[in-house]
Assembly symmetry: C2
Homo-oligomer: 374 residues x 2
Amino acid sequence: MTYGFQLLARDGAARTGAITTAHGAIATPAFMPVGTAATVKAMTPEAVRETGADIVLANTYHLMLRPGAERLARLGGLHDFMHWQRPILTDSGGFQVYSLSDLRQLDEAGVTFKSHIDGSEMHLSPERSIEVQHLLDADITMAFDECTPFPATEAVAAASMQLSMRWAERCRAAFVARPGYALFGIVQGGMYPDLRAESAARLLQIGFDGYAVGGLAVGEGQALTFSTLEGTVPHLPADRPRYLMGVGRPGDIVGAVQRGIDMFDCVMPTRSGRTGQLFSPRATLNIRNARHADDPRPVDADCRCPLCRHYSRGYLHHLFRAKEILGAMLATWHNLTHYQDLMASLRAAISRGSLEAFAAEHARLATMGDIDPV
Amino acid sequence: MTYGFQLLARDGAARTGAITTAHGAIATPAFMPVGTAATVKAMTPEAVRETGADIVLANTYHLMLRPGAERLARLGGLHDFMHWQRPILTDSGGFQVYSLSDLRQLDEAGVTFKSHIDGSEMHLSPERSIEVQHLLDADITMAFDECTPFPATEAVAAASMQLSMRWAERCRAAFVARPGYALFGIVQGGMYPDLRAESAARLLQIGFDGYAVGGLAVGEGQALTFSTLEGTVPHLPADRPRYLMGVGRPGDIVGAVQRGIDMFDCVMPTRSGRTGQLFSPRATLNIRNARHADDPRPVDADCRCPLCRHYSRGYLHHLFRAKEILGAMLATWHNLTHYQDLMASLRAAISRGSLEAFAAEHARLATMGDIDPV
């Protein structure tokens, strides 16, 4: 399948469509479960697919450290390795270099850092990041950029963005085009609208298959995320997918879709699942809370996931109290189903032209709080 | 379904047949995965069933401490609670009282002990153990006995066995008979054939729906296990199932089936799975070993489990190195499949009258060692 993006419907700034890649199609707006180390934690790939996911994200930084990009390529690439024959997007590794490693040096060439696993010295540059993502066989490769700190002065944000744009050009040059494979650029510029516009213009000049908005979800708050999107998305071409990196909570996703975003990724549903935080339309439950111990009802009576179809809150509470792996498995499954069903509802609402009503109802439910105790 | 045991074929002392219970049938010889806290660790019940298991074992001691027997009964009993609508056997709680708790007092009445979870004082007696297993809704209830230490002098073993026999009588009296539900007695007597014979005779006098051999798999070694079975099984009635508790490794199971045992349980396949020990006909692999890191081959090319159908040794090695939950999930699934396929092969060999040849080939393969490195 060649790479492409078909728009199917619009509703205000929101769009629904389909991205096609070498490993299949992705309905948008799409949520990508995070499979950091070539596994969506506590899930089989079959279960990930059952939640409704068309694509997963894997982390270049983690995989280049372990098991190593060249080894992974010898083992047939990421799709075979993790038994996921559908689309995969890899990040560039940049974000984790800044957040996880002991960073040694950053200059025009790239970054030298120490592995957080064994302390060994590693190097990442635009060229090496693209090469690693090629070795992993990512359907969608992300440009390697600098992670602008937040907060940052305009001068710092500008210098960081300009470095990222020079790197974006090197990424484009390093990327080996193949049918069905795509390279996305990343808009930077901190919370400064002019810098965002400049960054978008520069990326368009270089030319990418999709455009991500980076440097958000760094603690700036939902209002600033949304206003930054409003200042950025209009500078992006309508005929390319738009990806808001690292976002977010369900309400963040609804608001970003209303502002024209097509793709999302976040550890929220998986990480929360492992700690016993369960999403429902009305509330986020902490299933470890004692009030669930005797509750025969499902977490969410309207949810189609195995947890909600087959098990009580009392059972899930027990599993978490007993530190049983099945607790993490079922809670993750539920949360990912909740996210994917939200995306399906958003796609349907856009198709019907009723996104505004859907978003209002979504927000209203979220204020109701959990069902009454038994 | 009423409780019963149908013998279908014999081969020497070995037999194959079917136990029927309120929640369905169990093909024998049967291996029961251990679901200590109302979950077979790292497995969904659907996955447990896919391995071929007809029945699981749950631990009375753990469940009476957490979530509590009365609470579990209010939540609908163990089948609904853990979403396993097939047969369940519960142990009596005795073994864990001796091995896990801070034992306060043992007398004719029963045992008083401190919970290993929160130190609270608990009591178990023959009557309470039977009541708890009733509350759990176990298809097969085990008599509450004393765990005879090993090694023990003949006098100690005799006194312990006689206490267990008096308790067995109280268990029989306390058990509420319902169609499809069974109570098993447990032969004790340490490694002393005369005591084993006396214990068996006493249990037969009381009358049980099945007979377990207890007090083995306590470090006595395979030769002594087998000779004790040879001295015990002939005293048990042919028309009732025989259950060897807590056994064991695949070779132990083959030998015990040859000596007339019908049922087994052991944490070996599940616990080993979580630590990266993988069973194959030729060897037990430690998948964490570096030699597997680049190996594109499955753990066992002849195995039908998802791990062996879809993933390389290199991937499983990676999952264990990265401490990913999916590693425990897939390795457990594999090990349980290996065990269930062994049981299916044993049943088929008995039906064909070729158990001796099967056992010889099983032993021969086990000496071969793992396949050569790539």
